[in-house]
Point group: none
DNA sequence: GATGAATGAGTATTCATTCAT
DNA sequence: AATGAATGAATACTCATTCAT
């Protein structure tokens, strides 16, 4: 029932946007009565929140799968996998993600301190810890935040407002370059840190 | 009159968010009648759009000022200036920017192909052209887009959802590092994956 | 509930006319909430339409009752009964009919091809068929239309804009004369222009 | 200027109906400012009233022209001319008359006791006086009212809601028959007054 | 007289939410 | 738990009218 309602909400949201979404319509689409919607969701916004949470949780899974514990791949390779997986995940229901990210990227979305988001941050931090010796930033918490923001925002930008004339794979490459560039690594001073 | 109304809209939006904003309230705050609001703004959303446009235009000015034609500073130094200026500009009316970016990052925002946005992109592209020899990306259009997205999204993130425990200047530095890292320097791609 | 709302609408319409009628007032009068009005009537005008339809349907009943199948009376006598019954029916809620006919004689009224109107026309046509030999007009469809229009409009005129100085019974007689005169009798067309 | 505005009002009314008509639009169509509209018409409804008056006055002229003093034609012939002229006059701007008659046949229209209407009634009464000896009704005032109502309403019906399948000339004939039938004339009792 | 920017009372309509069944 | 009719506060938007220029 919960899933049924949530699926209907996602459908309506994709088709009509937030402005065109209303609880009665969601109920109708789900084939249940409004009352039932309110049995499981205290108010309209909790539907949006649940959708966000579902999305975040999905992303969490995707990241976990890719950065799985026994992963022996290189840093770049793992970053590449993560970016590719995230892009792919967002391109599954593009309409829904467009609405979700375009109209309410933060609205009732899992806060940075939510368990899910913490989980994601923790996973990325672990990755950085694994390659601590090879990267330039010393503050791994800040670095994890930066990497997540870069990845998140560029993936969203690529889905919502794709740069004209560039393919998804070019964008993917660019995101990886940005992240890797930021992490800098063991390169010489003239490049990774050009100022004294 | 238009400015007056827009100012009132910004005020109300800052205080109450989109949900708490209504045309009558905006009119009241502006000290004019609702009719006058509708004389200049066809509907409620056009207020939001105008606010976005105003913001974008403001950022355009800021960037133009910093990356002004006669600038002889180094690439890093110019990027630093730009990031610092943008962060500063966003911290002037933090509440307003929070609402604007949190609730409507794309909604009715100037499109990527708007004149203002084009102007900004052009300015950044020119900067990259100036230092073409020193940076790794060959496609300057894509690079400009990436840099703008990184900067934009990290500035927004810093304003909307600041990372706990880090100061603005630390964030500023991180943004610059990300951008500079992405631009990479004069070496070939083998330096992009320093780990085995 | 529907009847309740409709009754309230009739009341408000009678008292204040269309200009003074508003859905909130109708709801209040009906002792229900506006929402309930909109549950059953998609918009304000559908209230008017329903009132018209109700009226037309009522007239249908009146005519059916009077021109009932087993009626053995003369043509004139049946016409007299019909006119008398229609006049009486209109004088029950004169205020309402005044508004309905004065402001909206055709507006959203049952169309000539509506089932109700068809029913009425059919009934009158049957009457003419019954006395076909005694009347002049050969095209009974046209004749039925003419008779209905004469009756309708004169009854309405008598209710809305009664001729000063004449009693209802005089008007009733005049209507009957007009109809009977039109039907003409058993003679040929030469009797239709009795003057040289 | 007055005519200009009135013409614009007629145009707007024809195109958009009463609901779609507003003073600002009328002013715009007339190529003047709203203020000027209010210089000559105290309020919106006076525009409608003026249009009605204009129409009534026009009909007055038409009737006067046809029933002109020196007319020596037969009663039937004069009635025929009148009906034909009225039908023709209504078919000139059918859209406008539809709106005028459909939505506001009486609304702010010249009252039965207005000078214009009195003039028309007087003219018809004079006609009846001329043929007093040949017609059945003894009360000429009532007869004039009946004839006008029949003619008016059937002409309107023919314009607004024309009977399907009948040509204008058939309708014209039917109206004449109805009027002539009502006037009855010198026919025998078995027909003009079949009941004892 | 002509203008048209400003006014603001007025209203149709929506939709999140409740609760008796 | 499920239903869905009923609720009614809330609000975007209109447009007749005014009046300073």
């Amino acid at each position: 029932m919960v899933d049924n309602i949530l699926e209907a909400a996602a459908l309506v949201l994709s088709e009509k946007g937030y402005a065109g979404m209303n609880t009665n319509l969601v109920a109708e689409r789900a084939g249940v009565s409004v009352g039932s919607v309110y049995q499981y969701f205290p108010h309209k916004d909790s539907l949006i929140a649940a959708l966000h949470e579902r999305h975040a949780s999905h992303m969490h899974q995707v990241i976990d799968a890719v950065l799985g514990a026994s992963n022996k791949a290189s840093l770049r390779s793992q970053i590449e996998s993560m970016v590719r997986a995230l892009l792919a995940a967002h391109l599954v229901e593009p309409k829904l993600h467009q609405v979700l990210e375009r109209e309410f990227p933060f609205f009732d979305a899992p806060q940075a301190d939510s368990e899910t988001d913490q989980g994601i941050a923790k996973r990325v931090r672990a990755l950085l810890g694994q390659f601590k010796a090879q990267i330039r930033p010393r503050n791994l918490d800040l670095a994890a935040w930066v990497i997540l923001k870069i990845t998140e925002s560029m993936v969203h930008a690529a889905v919502i407002d794709p740069p004209r004339g560039f393919s998804v794979s070019e964008v993917e490459k660019a995101i990886v370059e940005a992240v890797m560039g930021y992490l800098g690594g063991i390169r010489g001073p003239e490049n990774a840190s050009p100022n004294p």
